[in-house]
């Protein structure tokens, strides 16, 4: 009945929404978006990481003398909300560039937004290959090693295993599907003799682990590829341990060595899985030592992989801004292409050809130590060694 109130209400709501934060003109603002409320186990360390980076950058004089400010927004795990946030950051906050995102679909949504609005976007975490290849665009760069790169790192180790009969378990969405697809493709190239005897596709976050484990065991594979993570991984590991699925079988597993996913497993941690991850306790390089010391001093906590991603995202953004000497998008793109910079994992470069950084990952085996899961026999795999040839990449990326 009171439709008039509706429109007045709308006007007020819009006014409220329109009131931005006033910022000092001399600051450089970076917009950051992530799934803080949906994925706190990753994003909390991630936030700590980028906050440390901001502190360090400003302590050493900012970017070309200007103070760096990061404006951070939650996307609630929804692409549509991420776009609202991106819009706010660009239109209302006037940020120089967008960074962040975790989920692949959100990364793609923001990347598409960046492409449409001609905004620089540095994707931090989303793993899908599409971000830099099939749906890559001029404005989007990515820090973390992609699905393809991690698959390639794992295949290197997996192809040396004697196992011929393989089964796969992966969450039923794009990430799981493409991880399995790439792994299968690369494995079959190196080992034409292997057979894929079973595949299980539990819904992400809703695995009914018992039946899945039974089904895989029934196929009697010699090795298993796992792509599940988080709570699904916990359930899978527990059921698998109890039912003896992993006994006498090799397991290759995406991301499982990351503290976010490995630490909760505690005494359930399976032995000898080949995994990608982040063994912060056994990395002995000066770059990492410096990072670790600073991080522990500030937070009295150990870093997770998210901490590295958050830290390096902002460090990279600062490096790009410093080199561009401007917040002009085209200048930043020009500065970023081919830019090399230090990171806790050693020097990394943003490739000109596909805007992928050469940040690598650690591959090792899982083990238990004092009732905790750790990675042992680790080695760092440089991202640059696990990317396809330039000619192939050219074919993958859409023509501008």
């Amino acid at each position: 009945m009171r439709a008039r109130n509706s429109f007045v209400g709308a006007a007020f709501a819009l006014l409220a929404a329109g009131m931005g934060h006033s910022a000092l003109a001399e600051d450089i603002k970076i917009g950051e978006i992530n799934s803080y409320s949906l994925l706190p186990s990753f994003t909390e360390p991630y936030r700590k990481g980028w906050q440390l980076a901001v502190e360090e950058i400003n302590a050493s004089g900012g970017i070309n003398g200007k103070k760096l400010v990061v404006v951070s927004k939650d996307d609630g795990g929804k692409p549509a909300d991420a776009q609202t946030a991106a819009n706010e950051l660009v239109s209302s906050e006037g940020v120089a560039m967008l960074t962040g995102t975790f989920l692949s679909n959100i990364g793609l949504a923001v990347s598409d937004f960046a492409n449409q609005k001609k905004v620089f976007f540095l994707a931090a975490e989303p793993l899908t290959d599409a971000v830099t290849w099939a749906k890559g665009n001029k404005y989007t760069f990515r820090l973390r090693p992609s699905n393809y790169m991690q698959a390639a790192m794992l295949v290197e180790a997996a192809s040396k295993l004697p196992a011929k009969r393989w089964a796969t378990i992966a969450p039923n969405y794009e990430y799981g599907q493409s991880a399995v697809a790439v792994f299968k493709k690369l494995m079959s190239e190196k080992r034409p003799d292997i057979q894929w005897v079973d595949e299980q596709w539990p819904p992400q976050g809703k695995i009914d682990a018992g039946p899945v484990v039974q089904a895989v065991a029934q196929a009697n594979p010699e090795a298993i590829l796992n792509v599940t993570f988080g709570p699904d991984l916990v359930k899978l590991v527990r059921e698998g341990n109890t039912r003896g699925l992993f006994k006498g079988r090799e397991v290759v597993s995406f991301l499982t060595g990351e503290p976010e996913y490995l630490d909760p497993l505690k005494e359930e941690t399976p032995e000898g899985w080949i995994v990608t991850g982040y063994p912060w306790y056994s990395i002995k390089t000066p770059e990492h030592d410096a990072f670790l010391k600073a991080y522990q001093a500030k937070y009295n906590d150990y870093p997770r992989l998210g901490s590295i991603v958050g830290y390096q995202t902002i460090k990279a953004a600062a490096a790009i801004l410093a080199k561009a000497g401007s917040t002009d998008t085209d200048k930043m793109i020009a500065a970023a292409e081919g830019l090399s910079m230090p990171s806790p994992f050693g020097e990394i470069t943003f490739r000109k050809i596909d805007h992928q950084s050469t940040l690598g990952a650690f591959v090792g085996k899982t083990a238990q130590k004092d009732g905790k899961g750790v990675m042992v026999d680790t080695s760092y795999k440089k991202g640059s060694d696990y990317l396809p040839s330039d000619a192939e990449v050219e074919k993958l990326r859409p023509k501008e």
Binding site: M1, A13, Q83, E88, D112, W201, P211, G230
Partner: protein, 629 residues
Amino acid sequence: MAFYVVQFLTGLASAASLFLVASGLSIIFGVTRIVNFAHGAFYMIGAYIAFTLTERFSGAFGFWGGVLAAALAVALIGVLVEMVLLRRIYHAPELFQLLGTFGLTLMVEDLVVLIWGPDDLVGRRAPGFKGAVDFFGQNIPSYDLFLIALGPVVLGILWLLFQRTRWGVLVRAATQDRDMVAALGVNQKWLFTSVFAVGVFLAALGGALQIPRDAVHHAMDLRIIVEVFVVVVIGGLGSIVGAFVAAVLVSELNAFGILIFPKISIILVFLVMAVVLIVRPWGLFGKPEAAARKTPGLTVNPWRPLTSNERLASLAAFVVAAMLPLFAGNYALTVGSEIAIFVIFAVSLHFLMSVGGLASFGHAAYFGLGAYGVAFLAKMAGLPMIVCLLLGPLLGCMGAAIFGFFAVQLSGVYFAMLTLAFAQIVWSIAFQWVSVTGGDNGILGVWPASWAASPSHFYWLALGVAALVTIALRIAVFSPFGYALRATRDSLLRSEAVGIDAKRVQWTAFVIAGTTAGIGGALFAYLKGSVFPDNLGISLSVDALVMVLLGGVETVSGAVIGAIVYKALNIWLVSQTDLSKLVLGGFIVLIVVVFPKGIVGMLEMLAQRRRKSSPPGSSLLAKPIESAE
């Protein structure tokens, strides 16, 4: 052979956990008619508290004692919630309790992270049930055997409780006829409280017993709540045996289904529910609901078209809104566009839910279909924006025509759940059919044509369409069809007796609502430049319900206000704080308690009271509505 036996037993173990939670929900719904959205939240708190207790106290006693104590503690929280919150809203319009429990759920999701931290927690294994039992070379976890035994034991205890105690008799009586129990002079308040406590206890116990096999984390509630609802509905509302059979059915179909179709899990329960409801409209063990008794306290405030003054005021408000681009920035305009689109979405559901009395739990399906319609037309056929906007919603229309045909054969919660099932089926198609829909990575690059690209132009477009849609639906409400639709809502018996083909009227309303939602979805695709399965998801459907309920389900304009308030607040909070769910949930709970008729319902009541207090009261005593039914 041994394998199939073990797979069957594994399915039974999954069924047991599902049944515990489902039975609690079923009992609560049966007696109080509350769609307890917070059931999953209680399940989650049960797991968290049990984790804390079992970590602190060692040994078998520590573990089992901890599990029980956790369930009891959560039951106590449940009692508190019932007394403080739900008691105030039993007489609110149907489903308003859903809003209250939804608010609670939002709050809990943030609270557990604040209390227990962001990491996934992995609890201890159960003492005495750590290993596995060998069965012809197959391993069965002994904890699974424990759960398999527990399911029937709980079923038995509940059966005894209901058949052999006075309390149980009352609960059964109340399940069949709430008012009769009130008439018997039973203290209904405490009956409800105790029922709620038992239901919550079962949920929390279900959660606590997950500790040895699951990780405890802040999204556990959402993982289980929908599934549990589905189980309850498949079994038949209020039927404990039904819940048990449905849990077994669903779990076994999943256990064996994945052997043939490894991707079936994502959609299985919804497929089963859709089939069951189409074949048996009241679930496997449910009984046809006694002629839906109208909620007591149903408004006796008749709807009327706007007076000319009100029309002028609305026009003035519209003009003010249309002037927004003169003084607001791009972000505000984009938010304005989003709000306008959600007004369209909310009024479309309002037409079905308030006017037609058909509360859809899956309305996002038609919104999303409209969005996908646009994306297909724009990306595959390369049609111009205006054509896409006109044709895209037709996909929503088609979806509504197909699904609506089946859905309107049912009513009440069964209708709601069938619409949910259909929405989930559509969602999973969008999610799975990667080659066409892009799966969860969606369809990108659906940006508006240059004439609508600037935020102000798009805002005017969205505002204009929202105004047109709102006006058109308002005209429909006061059209002969609108009267017929309201007639079918108020009394099916009477409408049939005056020659109204109720199903056809409702089906038409369903198609109108679906098409309108599709219009909103079409605009949304262009606003965001992309389409994702999220656009068809449960949470969007819930948003729509919340907007209608918040505004006031018994009013004509409630949806408009509800959409504006909810969406604006939501966007603002998400932008301002990571604890947006906590604040938003708190706000919703507050609204529920303070304005049990919704925002507009409250305003109307105040206005009416003012009007009534001036002329001397009418000679007619307002009689409770039940006597008229």
